[in-house]
Symmetry: C2
Subunit: 222 residues, 2 copies
Amino acid sequence: MSQHLQKELAALKEKIIYMGTEVEDRVYRATVSLINRNQQMAQAVLTGDHEIDLLEVNIEEDCLKLLALYQPVAIDLRFIISVLKINSDLERVGDLAVGIAERSSFLIDQPQITIAFDMAAMMHIVESMLTRSIESLVSLDVQKAYRVRSDDDRVDAMNRDMYALVKEEMAKSPEHINILLQNLSISRHLERIADHASNIAEDVIYMVNAEIVRHTPEFFED
Amino acid sequence: MSQHLQKELAALKEKIIYMGTEVEDRVYRATVSLINRNQQMAQAVLTGDHEIDLLEVNIEEDCLKLLALYQPVAIDLRFIISVLKINSDLERVGDLAVGIAERSSFLIDQPQITIAFDMAAMMHIVESMLTRSIESLVSLDVQKAYRVRSDDDRVDAMNRDMYALVKEEMAKSPEHINILLQNLSISRHLERIADHASNIAEDVIYMVNAEIVRHTPEFFED
């Protein structure tokens, strides 16, 4: 029985990692579509979300089946519960990638404006957080998970900067209001993806250490 | 053992319902603070989120303890898994209430502007969705849960209307850009609360029917 369970858990881990890389890929393509003004790439993200939705339901059903069938305890139980939660975070990141692709698709057809905000840098750090949160799951690396979590503040600060800048630019160039609103929305989507990456990291910490770190100040952790 | 479990499950249900009403109360006060321009009420929401965070961790620990201790199956297992998920949705709704209260607190000190958007109506439908999602949990009322879910489209439409209106108003009155941005942000927060209420309703449907309804078109359901 236990050997069967271990085999099933390994398969579940493979599935959630596959889902993670699929979602990562969508976030990457949504952001690159904007930077490179590539309409085809944006469209591919817009039409590809159904697969993620199916994966989410499939992984959730696996988790529930394993819980009912094997009644696991300790680390095995924590693993399944963490996968359940990571699964739901990843599905929401998939939705946010679609949201970015929608805004990118709109912006690609608009005149390009220059604002003093490094959107590519924000995209880079958020993608890196997502990648590292999934890596921390693959290798059960708690230190890596803590570092993902501590990057979240930088992303929040970037989003606040973007907000201040957009407000300023709107007053200066009212003809760009819509373009600026769409850019602000992308920044907010990125900020939410960073939140989900932090959630995933927290679930990895819980899985390994059996310790819930949500809502605890970060300076306790390193 | 089974009697013990049933007692524990009843206590867990009471706790999650308590959390639901606490979160509901915060959403209510955050929105009323804006409508009545009541700074004190906004501040109360801003300082009261820690209790929700503690409740969330406490309920999650209870769920994990019950899973490990009793290794429940069937409806009992589905109940615990649903509570785990509803718990995390409620905690996020609590965060969104804080977000609304922050914006409300800012707006209360600004000149009042008139826009052709019935924010109070949007608040009302979102609060009603949240209340009914929790009621559907109390009474395990699947029909009520389906109706919560079908209201989500109306809220999405309201949010889109708000966006179009804000864009228009910003171009007409650039001096109100910041006030309009804050109002738009409140509308978006409300839209996300409606999403979480739908998630809760979907979890109730899953709990009762053992059927995952996420990502299925609504016309299959009524």
